[in-house]
Symmetry: C2
Subunit: 404 residues, 2 copies
């Protein structure tokens, strides 16, 4: 009799967004006169930039003619896109990444879920707390996290690195030595980030203890301050200890268009084995490339016009972030994030739990956000609002919160 992967049975239910959806639906049904504003989920709302639309149309036309039709893509991705990435995202930042170190994919979620494939199951994993759930869940599925302890809301083999007001929302070097360290800066969900000297400390630490850093830079485009690194490869030695995940979802609105990439430097080795070659083998065996037309759309973002148009989108969302940040401050809340990220992280007032505040905000202001406890135990007592709504709704939401 065949057996299933028993690790799946250890996963607690993934109820966060379904519970939110259910609660909002119930409230809406009971209060049909109320207009609800959703600032909960991290999905974009602006349409794709004109330069992207144009590239898509043009690539679609190519697919309709025998002379320009494209079949299977090169396994790593088309060179026109990998070269644009290397030139723009790395060379300009002083990072010596080469095009055969860049792997095009269908998005950072797939890559962050799949990257564990090339690592041993005995590796000890360290994550920030609160955290993007995919890092934990994908490791739980492969059996790397031990057992889930319901009372603590934690896995017993995972090293949790609290990121709270006490740590300035940044992780501290863990006491127990990890093998795989997941870092995400600018951070989802807290919206905070760290400076280049602070990130360098993590690189130095990883090199010292022989850990690999899985660095999620999906929100890189939202960085507004000078001393914040755009890529971990700005740090010395990172090419020997770090893998970087990047996404087109938030910098260009590709959440429903799907494109991302992962950088695995050739200098990153374990007992002489190059992780670049392992990921190439994984990529070539369990993946068959991102669509040609989507890769053309991705390349359009790197043109002069593409940079201008996508920067305008980011600026629009970041203006929303400012409205939320200032609005909450004016209403007396303790607020962080929102300066280098589209997420605003607030301390719930009057010692409310995250879920109590969710209900409070829904009832009193008809505004939907995300309870911090949904991202991990150290998220309890916090709450996330996103800047991805429209300006009009964002402004209205703040007026309502201020008048509670």
């Amino acid at each position: 009799m065949f057996q299933i992967n028993e690790n799946y049975l250890k996963l607690p239910g993934s109820y966060l967004f379904s519970t939110i959806g259910k609660k909002v639906k119930e409230y809406a049904n009971a209060h049909k006169d109320k207009e609800i504003i959703r600032l909960g989920i991290g999905d974009v709302t602006l349409p794709l930039a004109p330069v992207v639309i144009q590239a898509l149309h043009s690539a679609v036309d190519e697919m309709g003619k025998a002379e320009t039709f494209k079949g299977y893509a090169p396994e790593l991705g088309y060179e026109f896109l990998r070269r644009a990435i290397v030139d723009h995202d790395y060379k300009k930042r002083g990072a010596a990444i080469e095009i055969d170190e860049v792997f095009i994919s269908d998005g950072a979620k797939s890559d962050s879920g799949n990257i564990g494939d090339i690592f041993g199951l005995e590796n000890k994993v360290a994550v920030c707390d609160p955290v993007y759930p995919v890092y934990i869940d994908s490791n739980a599925m492969s059996g790397r996290t031990g057992n889930y302890v319901e009372a603590a809301g934690k896995w017993d083999k995972v090293i949790y690195m609290p990121c709270t007001a006490e740590t300035n929302f940044a992780p501290e070097l863990p006491k127990e030595t990890p093998d795989m360290i997941y870092l995400c800066f600018p951070n989802n969900p807290t919206g905070s980030t760290i400076t280049k000297p602070e990130l360098q400390k993590w690189v130095d630490y990883a090199l010292k203890v022989g850990a690999v850093i899985i660095y999620d830079a999906a929100y890189e485009a939202y960085i507004s301050e000078d001393d914040v690194p755009h890529t971990i490869y700005e740090c010395k030695g990172a090419e020997a200890c770090a893998i970087e995940l990047r996404s087109f979802s938030k910098n260009a609105g590709f959440t429903g268009t799907r494109l991302g990439f992962t950088v695995v430097p050739k200098a990153l080795t374990c007992n002489g084995v190059s992780l670049n070659s392992l990921w190439a083998r994984r990529h070539g065996t369990k993946f068959n490339g991102a669509p040609y037309i989507i890769q053309k759309a991705g390349a359009a973002i790197y043109t002069e016009e593409g940079q201008k148009q996508t920067k305008e989108q980011v600026a629009y969302y970041m203006n929303n972030a400012k409205v939320i940040y200032n609005g909450l401050k004016a209403a007396g809340y303790s607020v962080s994030g929102g300066v280098n990220a589209p997420y605003i992280w607030l301390k719930t007032p009057d010692k409310m739990t995250s879920w109590e505040f969710f209900d409070f905000l829904l009832e009193k202001a008809n505004v939907v956000g995300t309870p911090g406890s949904g991202f991990g135990p150290s998220g309890e007592g916090y709450f996330r609002l996103t800047a991805f709504g429209s300006y009009e709704n964002t402004k209205k939401a703040m007026e309502r919160i201020q008048s509670i």
Copy 2:
């Protein structure tokens, strides 16, 4: 110190298509006057059908307007596509598959590589020999195949089911009991298939021994004979023992457009756990949906016009298959496949090895095919030609082979 997944180190080099590429390049450089015809790789050449192009343009326009822009897709895929699939591919065939049993993906290669995630590592795997390499390699990566024995060209924990002239290119029920059985009909690489009563025997066997069948039906559109099943769910009881993988690559030319789906029936359980829920969890954690515009393109294939246009493409390739089949027969070869599949499988003449025949064909006819031994030890002494070239080249290739 972090460790890698050591199973990757057991994989033999994946040299088949790179060796072919190298040999062809060398020959072409040495004989610049020769016009080489490539009938080796299974990639399509006809452009996307007009109805698909139209759907793509229209969906791109939707993505460019705020009112119709689409962010994250539903995790299982858009209902418009899943409903079209259920109605057309299953209901019409008398298979009671429901829309929440269909999972849209970026292609059958990803799904066939990733499906192992939800199964235990101790499961015993059975594959046809010769075989599509992804089934084996993905299981090797997770540690399910034991060690690779170079001399035999086999993994020591895998059950190989020879498909040769002696077995009429169909597998026989294995002597050792497997837990996971990979079947692909119509078959890649042999181009052969089995009848519905023959497939029913496999379903009955799987139900009896408690095995799960991973059924790859990527070439379903090429079936021309009446008694050949288009889906395994035409067989009684299959919903309790089989997962089906489907692709848009070969029926609609989506090799570079990327779309596929997997059916995991809710009736398929292991000790009371539904595999549908496990795959839903995997899909929701390590994947984030196929692009909206590509899902719209997929749905267009199911319209009346879409069916007509894609059937014309399949007919074009199947005419090539006939040209190859008849051409080889006329030249005195032992040939199979090509009737319900775009692949023609021939016995090498004069006891040549697959690679010897590769060199022979390249030199004498300037035609490129794929050595059967590249697909497994029982592929030795066989050779694959594909019907995906142009009619003109296919015809010319046969004239050359006949005049050797």
